[in-house]
Every structure is written in structure tokens, then in C-alpha cells.
Symmetry: C5
Subunit: 91 residues, 5 copies
């Protein structure tokens, strides 16, 4: 899973009907390691009640659909949790 910060929202009126009712948020992945390539932001459907500024856990790929009740929804990234804390050791 990816950890990222919610930095924005996306609106699309003309879309696949199966996407109706979903909230689309722009998530900027957090880079944990110096020297690692900065990944560009992605758009994820929200399934955790996230808001701008929240640090979130994002599941990608086919697993994203298992978070949504309807497995026919065409999403490849879903916010599945709000991160309380991350502890990383650099020893």
C-alpha cells in the first residue's frame, strides 16, 4: 500500500455511471527514503472519510475494488484508512 497526503479533489460530471457517488481525492505519495524517486500524485476514490491534509493509506490495483461494496466499480486506487502514526527506524 502507499502512504500519501490528500492535497486536492477532482470533479467529473460526465463519467461512467458506476462511479456515481464516489469522492475522488488527489493523493501525493510520501517519500520515506532519501534518494528515492518522488512519485507523482494519483487520484483515489475515498472509502475512509478522508479530507484535505490527511495522511492516508491507499490500496491500488484489483484490491481497490474489494474495498468498495460493488466489485464492478472501475477504480484502481482507493483510500482505505486514515493514518494515525508511522514509526520508521533508520538505524
Amino acid at each position: 500500500m502507499i502512504v500519501g497526503k490528500v492535497v486536492g479533489s477532482l470533479w467529473a460530471t460526465r463519467k461512467d455511471n458506476k462511479l456515481n457517488g464516489l469522492t475522488f481525492l488527489v493523493v501525493k505519495p510520501i517519500t520515506h527514503e532519501d534518494g528515492a524517486i518522488s512519485r507523482d500524485s494519483i487520484v483515489a476514490a475515498d472509502n475512509a472519510g478522508a479530507g484535505i491534509g490527511d495522511t492516508v493509506l491507499v490500496t491500488t490495483g484489483s484490491a481497490a475494488r474489494t474495498s468498495i461494496s460493488n466489485s464492478d466499480v472501475p477504480v484502481d486506487a482507493v483510500i482505505v484508512g486514515i493514518v494515525d502514526s508511522i514509526e520508521v527506524s533508520h538505524d
Copy 2:
């Protein structure tokens, strides 16, 4: 999901019959963050009535097939929406 701009079209007469009737568009991903690597354009099947110049939402992977009525269609990227607006905070 990826946000991109439709920059072109692709034609293929000789192809898997299951692809008949689909429109293939060339989508250039939009880079949200300075310093992020520019991703190359991809080819996506259109399921939102998109045209050249439109900003679109693209779903990739197995989720792409859930947007098409027939799940046996060999596509790995589908345009699922026309983006009205994106608001990104850089605070």
C-alpha cells in the same frame, strides 16, 4: 487513477475482434508535482465520449475491464470520466 490530456488517436484495422467498436485515444498524463518524473503517454479505450484536448480520468489494470460491459475485452486502460476541475492545495 491517472489524470491526463487527450492528445491523439490510434487506428488499428487488424486486431483482436473483441476490440471492435472501441475508440483508442492517446492520453498524456498530467504531472502534478515539480520534480516528479514525466510519464509517457498511454493508449486508453474511451468510455466517456472524450475528444482531443479533454482532461480525462483513466482507470488502469483489471479495473479497466469493469467499465466495459464485456469483461473479456483485452484493454488495460479506459477513460472513465471527463474532468471538470481539479483543486490542488500546495500549502
Copy 3:
């Protein structure tokens, strides 16, 4: 989907029996945008009658298996079409 040029062939006598009868071609992805990272060639099973020098459309991931009649074939990239033309606007 990826657009690429067929630049070679691969032979493997000792292989998973489920791969018998398939032709494996080496496909070099075509880079559409200046500054985008050049992607390395991939090996794809041919389902469009492609030959060396052809520009082809390649579907990757689980969608690749939907192009082959038997969904148990362990392939993650299949050539699904021969590209006639691509029109890209750089306005």
C-alpha cells in the same frame, strides 16, 4: 495499452506446457513525449499476426489473458493489434 515496434523474437523449448503454440516477440515501446523515460523492451505473446518492424498495440496485465482463448495461459503481455496510424497533436 502500450504502443511499440516489434524488434525481435524469442525461443524457449523448455517451458510451461500452457505456452506451447504461442509466438513470443520482443517489443520496444515507442516514446511519445520528449523527456519521458525510455522504457525497456518487453516480451509479448502475439495474437495479431505481427512481424518484425510492425508497430503494435500491446495489452498488459490480467487483460492480456482475455485475448487468448484459454485464460490459464501464463502471459502478462499480448500483442492485440497492428497499428495503422497514430495522430498526436502537440498544440
Copy 4:
């Protein structure tokens, strides 16, 4: 699969209920080759009893869910083993 070192933990109280009971660990991929791009850390659910400092084997994508008893759990990376040793030849 990816080989990595467990460098941290992640806590999320507000999350998809299907994730309850899982432990989320931060795994830093180990780079085997000089010159290869350093990959950023990922978050993986633990299914091998791993702890900080362990070298682990991580399965990603839809295969991650096959390690968890419930295939509806929205995870895209799972620790499936603790690595005892890796022998790599550089001849």
C-alpha cells in the same frame, strides 16, 4: 516478489473494517544491483510474524490477497516469508 527490510510500523484507527486485525509494516526494498534505482518503502500487511529489522519476502498485486484467508481484504502487498539467506552470484 520483492525482498525488503522491515523498518517501521503504521497505525490507522479509522479504516475499512475489512482491514481490522492486520499489522501494517513499512518495508524498504533491498537493491541488489548497483545502478538500479532505489525503490521507495512500501506498506505491507504482515502474514509471517515479521518484526523490525527482519528481511522479508513481499508479494504484491492480486497475489497478496491469496495469502490472507479472506480474499475480500483490500491489501496489495503482504509479507509472506522471513528470509533466512540470499545467495547471489556476481560472476
Copy 5:
């Protein structure tokens, strides 16, 4: 699919029981094009009787499980063939 050279082996005693009996090999992807980014080695389960030094064909993603008789095995990369020869044209 990826073409690579087998450069090592990995042992893990404590692992998901569904992985028992599999051999895990370290595969270094072969770069076909100058200027393409060198990809780091991956760990793949062997389904072709490969050994150190062999050039192999590796299938990734959900397709990897179709090569193993039991589709519940949590692997995302499997060696599906031993490569006899690759002919690439650079015209």
C-alpha cells in the same frame, strides 16, 4: 514478460504454508536497449527447472499464478521458460 538471468537463490523457512515446495530464484532483468533504466533484480518462483546462469522468461502479476497448479499460491512472479535464443534487430 521479462527476460532475465538467474543470479541467485533465496531461502525462507518461516513462510506462508502455501509457498512450501517452491524454489525461489533471484532474477536480474536483461536490458535490451541502451539508455533504458536498469531494473533491479526480482525474486521469482521457478516453474521451469531453471538454474544459476540460465536466461529465463518470467511472467508477473496475476498471470504468474496460472502457471502454478494451485491458484491460491501467493506468488507474483514465476519463471515459465528457459530461453534458448533471442534475436533482436537494431536496424
